[in-house]
């Protein structure tokens, strides 16, 4: 088993090892050099000077999740399209480009449907515009 052409991944491992050594090394060297007197006040998380209230781990608006959702769908689409993109030029050279272009366009257009849907239903805009008015109306009706 020629292990020769697996050497391409050797720099990846060496660079990661260097990054780890740098981080851990600097922190260890720092531990010797740095002053170390943690006081209760100094350790409080920064709250513009006041005493911090409540834990930071309260939950957040769901729009962060919708962004991550649309990202992962397009990320996976990119992952599927990369092999087809690398092969597209070869097919064009042997004259078969039309069929591959058709497959490619169908794939992309189905996913464009997805983003158009999210756009129209207002998932993509950061501040939920329609939600603001309805809360106001509800207050009025009560």
């Amino acid at each position: 088993m020629s292990s020769h052409n697996l050497d391409v991944y050797m720099p990846v491992l060496i660079l990661m090892a260097f990054a780890a050594i740098m981080v851990l090394g600097a922190l260890l060297v720092g531990k010797l050099v740095r002053p170390q007197n943690p006081t209760e006040l100094k350790n409080a998380p920064y709250e513009c000077g006041e005493a911090p209230i409540g834990s930071a781990w309260s939950n957040f608006n769901v729009r962060f999740y919708v962004v991550a959702l649309v990202f992962i769908i397009f990320d996976v689409e990119g992952a599927l399209m990369f092999p087809v993109a690398t092969v597209f030029k070869k097919f064009v050279e042997i004259g078969e480009g039309g069929a591959i272009l058709g497959t490619f366009l169908i794939f992309v257009s189905v996913l464009v449907l997805g983003i158009v849907y999210c756009w129209k239903k207002g998932d993509l805009d950061w501040v939920k515009s329609y939600q603001v008015d309805t809360d106001y109306n509800e207050e009025k009706d009560k």
């Binding site: 697996l6 491992l13 959702l69 992962i72 769908i73 092999p83 087809v84 993109a85 939920k128």
Partner: protein, 176 residues
Amino acid sequence: MFLKIMFILAATMTLGGAFLTAYTKNLMHACVYLLVSLFGVAGLYATLGADFLAATQLVVYAGGVVILMLFAIMLTGGIQNFVNKFGLDKVPSMGNGKTYTIAGLSMIITAFIIMKVLAPIFKTNVQGELPAFASTVEEIGVLLVTDHVLAFEISSILLLGALVGAAVISRPRRGK
């Protein structure tokens, strides 16, 4: 020689990450250990000569799924334990002794069954001369466009369904 080193490194990362995901008490740590384990699986793909799959694993899992998990943990109350309506402490959400014993027992049974199935395979695999590592991207591209073009198109429809479904579910509705 380097193949062995890389295999051992990737295997320890995968199995270490997986077992730490199973046994850590903090959900955030479980997510980080899952990331370490998936990183190890990408290394395993590299030792198996599947370089495109190693990169896809990095892009989709390390970049996408783990961040999705982290966001979901943030959006569902972080890592505190849940108590039921009467204030009594339910089974802690990260599992306690009892749940782990049940898990252990069922694992022993499944392990026994799977070993029965895999036994013949372990005995008979003869080792031929393995081909050298080659670039797999073009090959996968050709396969995707010729043999598996139907699966390629259906997966775009599946992604569309997943996108629309998840968007509808997680959209903050006005009514309760």
